[in-house]
Amino acid sequence: MKNSLNILKKLPIAVIAILMVSIPAFTDNNYIISTLVYCFVFASLAIAWNLIGGYGEQVSWCNASFVAIGAYTGMIMYKMLGISPFIAILVGTGLAFIAATLIGYGTFRLRGIYFSIATIAFGEIVRISLQFWQGLTGGAAGYYVTYTGQNFSALMFKNDVPFYYILLALLVIVILIASWFERSKIGHYLSAIKGDEDAAISLGIDSFKIKLTTFQLSAVISAAVGTFFGFFIGFIDPGTVSSLNLSVKIVVIAIIGGVGTIWGPVLGSFVINILAEGLNSMFGDVGGLSLAVYGFLLIVIVIFKPAGLISLFPKWGNNSKSARKSDDESTQNEVLP
């Protein structure tokens, strides 16, 4: 790539980065800060989903479960054992890794639809289990950690500004991981698998192992984000944190933003979360309005702009990994295969 293109591409990122870092200095409004934290969190989660769902085209409907595993592990280990979430995160990600391995072992040798449905089943198992183990998790009533004063290692702060920086830093780390992934061998192999799995296998690519590793990475990142997210919202319950609704929101963000790219999920997260807040302030808490809008947007984007909103910004959204065979006219056929 030419040097001038490089700088052109990097300048807006630098500007945005400086902007993001300095926002808390300009505003005291916790509502704005908190909304931005949601944007960061879901951007990270959508990027993590995108590894397996976008680059790998294996649609997972249970990434919220990994978030929940991270959140519950962090909070339970702190409340019951006094262990800092910075350490508990290792346990949470470990559990998520195991879970992803179990799901992958059962499904990655089969067609993609089995994986998708198995993730739905797994998601429900996790949610029901969390509800059922009341002694450990508080059940449907939820779980929380009482605020006992400012404590960095326990992720307790007077306001949300520290969370802002922590989750922004985490987003940066996740973006770096995703960039590395795109350029790595496994990223390349995954896009070959996406292109034609049978051909890839016949050419030496162990598609089972590649998909499994990608899914494990996706799960681990989601759980890590989940640990911090849990402490940020302070109160978690299975119906919110471990739900299909949350998994769907993550998928919607990735799709609307732009599947198979890095900045697509980021854009999608800002659009959806700000939209949700906007709807909330305009119409109040009309149950279901934001989810109905997500559903509507998902349909519209998939039909009219399947490459996502990021494709409106060609320099940011265009790379071969996001190209899908089905978008090319020459492969559109009248009859379904």
Binding site: R109, L110, Y114, G288, L291, P306, N333
Partner: protein
């Protein structure tokens, strides 16, 4: 589940009774699961796609029934034809606006678009009817038959028998009518079917709307049993996917047997272990089956790697 006073019976006899009663309940529930699963498996067989919004058509079938009941005061069985008409309209509308534009694209696209449809239908229902569960008063809600010492809930029995009738009707449709043959031909080999003069677009439309109708009918049949709320679709759809996958994606008999088996499994786990874990039991069985019989009970080879 009510347990009769069984003074003087031994532990094993009680256990046996519990298991058989649970199995009866499970079979009855399984009939409904099977009905919807057959519809879903037909869509999968013909269009090679999974309709994620299936549960919402069940839910809307129930809300249609509720609306019509509020207007006319008639019971749900009498309202069935009207509900079918409304469901056909909803199905056609969904097909034209949501499905048709993405025909020819990959199966993930279909899933995305039907997920969107599912959330749209679910939350429009919530915005219109509110989240509070609604019910339709019915004289037979608590009615039951006694067969020996076993109780058979009447509304569940009616639902089960209606479901069986419908499934038989569908089988006749598939095997004996031109339309059915067209559907099976398209399922077998879409290109060949087109060459033979079958208008695949009509076949797709019919298959999709048919599955919506089956879901809507299932909804009407269960109004005396379950209360109506917007996210009811979630529960059913998850169970039904599992049925379809277990049954072997495209096999009608697989969907039928899968539905019955899962109904039994859910009832047994719910009764013997804990009623809250009933659905979880299904999923665990499903995941186990994936490991042991990856092609489903009846399915054809689906392996990739």
């Amino acid at each position: 589940m009510l347990m009769r006073n069984s003074v003087g019976k031994s532990g094993t006899q009680i256990m046996a009774w519990i298991i058989i009663q649970a199995t009866i309940n499970g079979i009855l529930n399984g009939g409904i699961y099977a009905l919807v699963a057959v519809g879903l498996t037909i869509v999968f067989g013909v269009m090679k796609m999974v309709n994620f919004a299936t549960g919402e058509f069940i839910m809307w079938g129930m809300y249609f029934t509720f609306l019509l009941y509020t207007i006319t005061g008639l019971n749900n069985y009498v309202l069935l034809p009207m509900v079918i008409i409304l469901t056909i309209l909803l199905g056609l509308l969904s097909y034209v606006l949501v499905i048709k534009p993405v025909l020819g694209r990959d199966s993930n696209t279909f899933i995305m678009v039907t997920v969107g449809l599912s959330y749209l239908l679910m939350n429009v229902a919530q915005m219109i009817f509110g989240p509070t569960p609604k019910g339709i008063p019915s004289e037979i809600k608590t009615a039951s038959l006694s067969i020996g010492t076993f109780t058979v809930s009447l509304p569940r029995l009616i639902a089960f028998l209606s479901a069986c009738l419908l499934i038989i009707a569908i089988q006749i449709l598939l095997k004996k009518t031109m339309l059915g043959r067209a559907m099976r031909a398209t399922a077998e080999n879409a290109e060949m079917a087109q060459v033979l003069g079958i208008n695949y677009k009509q076949v797709y439309t019919f298959a999709f709307v048919l599955s919506c109708v089956m879901a809507g009918v299932a909804g009407t049949l269960i109004t005396p049993i379950y209360s109506i709320y917007p996210s009811l679709g979630n529960i059913f759809k998850i169970i039904i996917f599992v049925v379809v996958v277990l049954g072997g994606m495209g096999s009608v008999s697989g969907a039928l047997i899968g539905g019955l088996l899962l109904g039994i499994m859910e009832a047994l786990v719910g009764t013997l272990i804990n009623s809250n874990l009933g659905p979880a039991g299904i999923f665990v069985v499903f995941l186990l089956m994936l490991y042991l019989r990856p092609n489903g009970l009846f399915g054809t080879a689906n392996r990739v790697a």
